[in-house]
Amino acid sequence: MTGLVPLAVGDRVHFGHRVTEADVYLFAAVTGDSNEDHVDATSPVGRRFGRIAHGAYLISLMATAGSLMHQRHDVASVSAGYDRVRFVAPVPIGTSLEISYQIDVVDQDSGRAEAAVTITAADGAVVAVGRHLIAFLDQNGSPPRRDGHAA
């Protein structure tokens, strides 16, 4: 039987991104999270590390990697969620990041796949990790919901 999941263990996408001041300030603006860690250079975190990116911003970069993977095959799927997300080190404005997304679980029976996502800084230090859970949809649009989107 040909499986529903158009992915294989080891499939990988990666991209780089340098975190700008605009990224952090616009993220604060749209999410409503203007905590001093992100927008106050004189705060304790600001003085120690510099103003830092939001954790949810790092997850959004993970999701973008998932979207890039999805656009490779364009089979209808949904982002079912994330698990075991850890923010390992602060990410100050100006940090150059590498986002690496690799499929490490494919279950054709359940139509599900999982990816390990790692974000590293330019010096190779890991700053965040997480697991992305993907559900592929059959022709009836299940499971578990249908919006035709992977991330």
Partner: protein, 136 residues
């Protein structure tokens, strides 16, 4: 007279009516330009009944609720991670989302497990999960 004990605050919420601006800025910020978010005429958006917000936007709103909760408690903290983040339904521009954060029974005084939810104004669950918060 003693100051009120802010540590008694166990939950907080953040409500936002999601705008077109939120959607477009989030697409640009994340780099996730999937057609379901930015192309009303795409098959994905048509299937979904219109463009949808990025699912991660819901995580961001829940994270804001966590940030507000810890500010209300007067505690310096950081979100060390998230577990079991699950998406049930997509949000759309124009939806009013209520993101909630509530300190769960598990965890300790300096390692809080905060249960997070994102719901529509009508009470439909969009996403939930657990934030692991370190109190410093």
């Amino acid at each position: 007279m003693t100051a009120p004990d802010t540590r008694q605050t166990m939950s907080a919420e953040f409500r936002k009516t999601l705008s077109e601006t939120d959607l477009i800025l989030f697409a640009g910020l994340s780099g996730d330009l999937h057609p379901v978010h930015i192309d009303e005429q795409s098959p994905a958006a048509r299937d979904a009944g219109g463009r949808t917000m990025h699912a991660v936007f819901l995580i961001a709103l829940m994270s804001t609720a966590v940030s507000r909760l810890m500010q209300a408690r007067g505690q310096r903290s950081r979100v060390a991670g998230f577990r079991a983040l699950t998406f049930y339904r997509p949000a759309k521009p124009g939806d009013t989302v209520c993101a909630g954060a509530r300190i769960g029974p598990a965890g300790s005084a300096d390692q809080l497990r905060v249960e997070i939810t994102a719901m529509t104004d009508a009470g439909v669950l969009l996403a939930d999960g657990v934030a692991e918060v370190e109190v410093s």
